[in-house]
Symmetry: C2
Subunit: 369 residues, 2 copies
């Protein structure tokens, strides 16, 4: 087994100082002792979902120890609703959990978002630990403190910035994901490389086979690179006043496509389409030639990502949805754009930019098959 | 008209720097221009309740301007539920409110708690302004950033620390409160004097008549003293790690009595009983003789506060409820205790103390008529 990799994230979480990200293949079954050791005085409450139970990960984590646990069922986006967060908190109250509690979120992005939000608002905030088990969660959502759930009107309507007290990543958990789930999360890795690190982009290009084979060495390297990039951006701008928006690269149209598909497209698949959209906008605005977009397309295609908007999704629905974008100003979103691989356009101190409705409509038109 | 009093609260609110508390009798009808002047770029959404509409305060604030408004109905604790916060946010979403919004909370403590919580969790946090219109809210809840709503299991189960961007206090709004509402809020003023300022306690003793007559000069002095004391404590310990707990003086049993009465007792009435309870505990632990408690009783009695637990409330219910106290450790709360008027007991750096179940039971017994 390789030595445990540790990254220190220098964001003041709530409550208490910075936090550590531990990365080690095969570590899941030894994590409970580590958690007991680090948080001896906190009552533990596990939030996970039915998929994690089926994959044996809950058992790997807690073994035969009796731990109060909330199992989100059905798993996935459909349960990422304010009602689920309310149910978790009412379950904790009924079991007399107080402020001296820690929620342990075992699962993918949805579990982390829901459990993190519950921790943020339970009795004005308790600790949360993330044990991300999907490609998306290990690459992205477990680091950075964004939490949120949907309302009956829109996605992520409720949320809080709430940093974990620790993150534990076991890349070996990725080997139990089905192919779609596994691959879709790789889009966030490509995004990180595009916005921050051209050498990491080269590495991904050169290791597509290892990625698809889920080679543990490649997965650890990826987890480390993703967390390093994300943590650096987040530490610079924890509450997304400006630069943190670069993490939203590919997400403005990506979120809209995901939503318009009624979540039949996975988050990573939608982001892949959003990344291509951003590339087309960049070309249109003279920010880069076709070679760069071709490289991006080639990598995403090799990872079996979709590069086009499914015909079943209507253009007018996409245009309607982006009005609700959290970063919208006067009901129109701003866009993060590259000036090169590993480098985001910053103009007048701004990292997200106005793009006219004409350009966006043209871009959407070009994304249909 | 006296000049506007301003206090600066040096707590970093989210988002942006410290905030100001404006205190001026008769200022309500001129506030909207002031708000437009201070927050020209933010879309405004008003949250208020049916009582405020009936009292004419909503009209005084917005005049004939068309402002999207959510009117909490029925007013009061019964609506302080997660469902109300959800409804407010879904109303804002449906009207395309985004992050560039500010919620203006016009009303008492309940309105402020609900609206502040909605602001804290809407799209990971937007600005909120408080315009408190009750004695409790002007003395206490509008300053300090505590927000929260109830679950179906317990009170304030959901919450966040979320500081306002400004607070506007018009003491003249207190003249429209009914007698019960008006007087009940005075308990928080007595609490502030007891924990922090013996001269302010002297002032209250000497001005009971002016208080009961709602003399605007006395009300302004009170609002200023309350905000000054509360802001200083909160600035020292914004997230209630330790010293801020002194603001909870009288509240541990007070909350339990309020809850056990099914909110038939007003918050301030319950707190008055809780203050007497704390005084009895202090005597029991040798922290003060009967003279001090007698002074407190005399002031609370002159303000027509109840000094005893109604017989309809069962002791075993109180003992059960305090297990759920947010500050409970191992299902038993800690108590804030005085060592003198204006001075809270601090032992080994701790501002809240273990008190045995025996002492608490004896105290409760002595509080029945």
């Amino acid at each position: 087994m390789p030595p445990m990799s540790e990254l220190i994230v220098t964001i003041p979480p709530a409550p208490g100082g910075g936090y550590k990200i531990h990365i080690e293949s095969g570590s899941l079954s030894a994590l409970w002792l580590r958690i007991e050791d680090q948080f001896p005085k906190h009552r533990k409450f596990v939030v996970t979902d039915a998929n994690l139970v089926a994959a044996g990960h809950l058992e790997a984590l807690i073994g035969t120890i009796e731990v109060p646990t909330y199992i989100i069922d059905p798993p996935g986006e459909v349960s990422k609703h304010i009602n689920t967060a309310v149910s978790i908190i009412e379950a904790m109250e009924s079991a007399f959990f107080g402020r001296d509690s820690v929620i342990i979120a075992l699962g993918g992005g949805t579990v982390g978002d829901i459990a993190g939000f519950a921790a943020a608002i339970f009795k004005r905030g308790i600790r949360v630990l993330h044990i991300p088990t999907t490609t998306v969660a290990q690459a992205d959502s477990s680091v950075g403190g964004k939490t949120g759930v949907d309302s009956s009107v829109s996605k992520n309507a409720f949320g809080a910035f709430w940093h974990p007290s620790a993150v534990f990543i076991d890349p070996a958990t990725l080997t139990t994901l089905d192919d779609d789930q596994y691959r879709s999360g790789l889009a966030e890795s490509v995004k990180h490389a595009l916005i921050a690190d051209s050498e990491y982009f080269d590495y991904i290009e050169a290791n597509v086979a290892g990625l698809l084979n889920r080679d543990l060495g490649v997965l650890e390297k990826m987890a480390y690179s993703n967390c390093r990039i994300k943590a650096a951006v987040v530490a610079e701008d924890p509450t997304e006043q400006n630069k943190r928006r670069i993490l939203n690269y590919g997400h403005t149209l990506g979120h809209a496509v995901e939503s318009a598909s009624n979540y039949k497209l996975l988050h990573g698949e939608a982001v892949a389409i959003g990344i291509i959209a951003a590339g087309l906008i960049e070309q249109d605005l003279g920010l880069g030639g076709p070679e760069r977009l071709d490289r991006t397309k080639k990598v995403l295609n090799a990872l079996s990502m979709p590069l086009e908007i499914p015909k079943s999704i209507k253009k007018k629905d996409l245009l309607e949805i982006i009005k609700y974008d959290k970063k919208a100003v006067n009901q129109w979103p701003r866009f993060v754009l590259l000036e090169g691989i590993g480098s985001v356009l910053c103009r007048d101190g701004q990292w997200a930019h106005e793009v006219s409705r004409d350009v966006i409509e043209k871009t959407i038109d070009r994304l249909y098959p």
